[in-house]
Amino acid sequence: MNIQMSLFGGVLIGLAAAGMLFFHGKILGVSGIVGGLLNDRSRNMYWRLTFLLGLLLGALLLEPLGFSVMHETTGISLIYIGVGGFLVGLGAALGNGCTSGHGVCGISRLSPRSIIATVSFMITGFLSVTVLHTLLNGGQ
């Protein structure tokens, strides 16, 4: 982990989002793309599905290229992962976005909703890490 790789990875994320805007005029928000597949059977289904296909293809390239994906354990029990995943899905659906849609695309557009959303999830993210990982020692 170093600053250059973090920055470079970030630039790639920004380029991907710009590509989605240039070709399809859409915001690259992963939760909206996945959520949209749950109940939107319009033509939008196709770009959403092919985006997810690309995401998985890109994911397959990471380890051969030497980038680690979920290798290090965080010491969190699977029950907590289930609860956390549920909250991520519920929260992104209610708040209309996640780290990509609000945190990257929305902040870049200076959208007031996205700025408020990002500040909110940073604060509660900090609180949940502090309580679970620091005080409860990983919930085990």
Binding site: S6, L7, G9, G10, L12, I13, G14, L15, A16, A18, G19, L21, F22, F23, G25, K26, V30, V34, G35, L38, Y46, W47, F51, L55, L57, G58, A59, F67, V69, M70, H71, T74, G82, G84, G85, F86, L87, V88, G89, L90, G91, A92, A93, L94, G95, S100, G103, V104, R109, S111, A117, S120, F121, I123, G125, F126, S128, V129, H133, T134
Partner: protein, 149 residues
């Protein structure tokens, strides 16, 4: 040609996005948790990821929306115009943050993690889909309308 591009461009975008997440270190939940751990062993890497992404997208967003009349493959841009800050947004984002902090995963990195077959990623994605289905159900929309005065 346009039909081919219609299918292929999101694939390319998805690949680029996954590479960005992996190269930046965000596919290791430990790095995300370390960023949120202000009172513990704080590591600021995620700040540079967001900084790089925001600077890039901000510049290209301006360029594209000002210079191009419409996206290459669609009739118009679909950019959210909602400016209303309501309870639903704040409650939603706050719940999202709690889950993000517990797991160190967001929807993008959870999906990327699926290819490793890691149990953590599978459970995360399945429960995320459940949460999304509940959050998008009419049941929840009605509940939010009722409490609004």
């Amino acid at each position: 040609m346009k039909e081919v591009l219609y299918i292929l461009s999101p694939v390319m975008v998805g690949i680029l996005f996954a590479l960005g997440l992996g190269i930046s270190g965000m596919t290791e939940p430990k790095n995300v948790i370390a960023f949120l751990d202000f009172l513990g062993a704080w590591k600021g890497d995620l700040m540079f990821v967001m900084g790089g992404a925001i600077a890039t997208y901000m510049a290209l967003y301006k360029l594209i929306t000002q210079r191009v009349k419409r996206p290459l493959l669609e009739k118009e841009f679909s950019i959210p115009s909602n400016k209303k800050i309501d309870r639903r947004l704040i409650i939603g984002a706050s719940l999202f943050g709690v889950g993000w902090g517990i797991t160190g995963l967001c929807p993008g990195t959870g999906l990327v993690g699926l290819v490793t077959g890691n149990k953590m990623a599978v459970i995360f994605v399945l429960s995320m889909l459940l949460g999304m289905a509940l959050g998008r159900s009419s049941f929840v929309s009605v509940a939010f309308k009722k409490v609004r005065r």
